[in-house]
Symmetry: C2
Subunit: 217 residues, 2 copies
DNA sequence: CATGTAACAATGAAAGTCAAGTTGTAAAGT
DNA sequence: ACTTTACAACTTGACTTTCATTGTTACATG
């Protein structure tokens, strides 16, 4: 576990570009690995346990994932890809920029706040994951910012929104930071769990972020 | 170091209510203790070192702070009090709600992002402090939220602002989360370091938070 | 009267040692 | 294509020992 996949740049790009599991056994292994990680965390995560779960020899795992790193890496990439493609689908389904933003954000919160592995690690192995989400989250935030900004720019490009480029990056970063904050510290008075509350939140604080119409200008 | 002062409720209230150091020696001890913590962190923080720094016997320290906890506690309370009173002064000096919000927030960011001990601990002893700022930051955020909300309510009470109570809490929490995020992950594209940039940020994203005039209502 | 010295038991952290578990590779078997 | 077995290198955990620190006390000093 020396290579630290999270510190890397263009994390999201790698997640989307990483080749999909062709083999069906690869799929089963990764499924078992995910369950294993969800049930026991990463500190006690052994290839042996994964093999037992897949009902396969330990050596077989090594045939598909020569190093432990690569398995874990593939796991994270798969989860990230799953997340990103789902969000993209949600966003694509909405017609207006406002709706895309609101629904996309709500989905992100639901997905991440309900992510078993993520929450498991936050709870039982914070020292493993917290630095990546805080003091070393510079690249993560940058990646998330770029991704969100991309979506906003798409709206601008489609003529449904008019927003200066610098403001796009700022708005994107503020959104990214708020999401991360709500994931790592779920306690909140923000009504993120009721549909009406979320709608209200979005209207009050989210929509203004990407609105061309500004006060005082 | 068993008592964990940060987990406590109404942290800010305790910080402001805690009695000021009457003695001059108390002051010197705490000054030395702060420097010691800034230079060596909390893990290697010993009463012996503090005593050497004050050029005083170890026993003397114990006369003023019977337990190590109490010294550290007093330290944190003093820093927190220093912070809060300064912010309050900054806010009080501004005439309009918008200016109070903007200048207050800018000061918070500058103070916290420049705080030697805080940054030292984040850098060298994250496992000690990160959980308090993340997974267990519920009470911290609640305290900060209440404090900020108090300031906003004061403006509402003075008739300079009209904002529903629920919205006050939400706006306050969003501000608190953003500040915390920018403190623990300083890397940002937000122009927080140039005066013009900060002003622009405030106008774009901050002022709308407390503005009665809303889009779509 | 506030501080210093010296001595002390109790607690805690750090370092070292050893046994067990885990990783990653290879060869031969089904 | 997978399994079994075997193996060396490395990591981890448990344990013990040692040392530093805490917190307390009695007495000395100026």
């Amino acid at each position: 576990m020396r290579g630290d996949t999270l510190d890397d740049d263009n994390l999201l790009k790698r997640a989307l570009d990483s080749e999909l599991p062709d083999d069906e056994t690869t799929e089963r292994i990764m499924g078992a690995a995910l369950q294993q990680a969800e049930d026991f965390g990463l500190r006690r995560f052994t290839i042996d346990d994964v093999a037992r779960r897949v009902r396969v020899s330990r050596v077989t795992i090594y045939r598909y994932f020569p190093k432990k790193d690569q398995l874990l890496n593939a796991l994270l990439m798969r989860e990230l890809r799953r997340f990103l493609t789902k969000v993209d689908a949600v966003i694509a389904a909405e017609p207006t920029p406002e709706a895309k933003l609101v629904e996309g954000l709500i989905f992100c919160l639901d997905f991440l706040r309900g992510h078993r592995l993520l929450n498991r690690l936050l709870r039982t192995e914070p020292e493993l994951i917290l630095p990546h989400l805080t003091t070393r989250a510079g690249t993560l935030i940058a990646a998330a910012r770029a991704w969100i900004a991309g979506h906003i720019r798409a709206e601008v490009g489609a003529g449904r929104l008019a927003l200066p480029d610098e403001d796009i990056e700022c708005a994107a970063e503020l959104i990214a930071r708020t999401v991360i904050s709500l994931v790592i510290t779920p306690d909140t008075v923000l009504p993120v769990d009721s549909p009406e509350g979320r709608r209200r939140l979005a209207d009050l604080y989210l929509t203004p972020l990407v609105q061309t119409l500004r006060p005082k200008t």
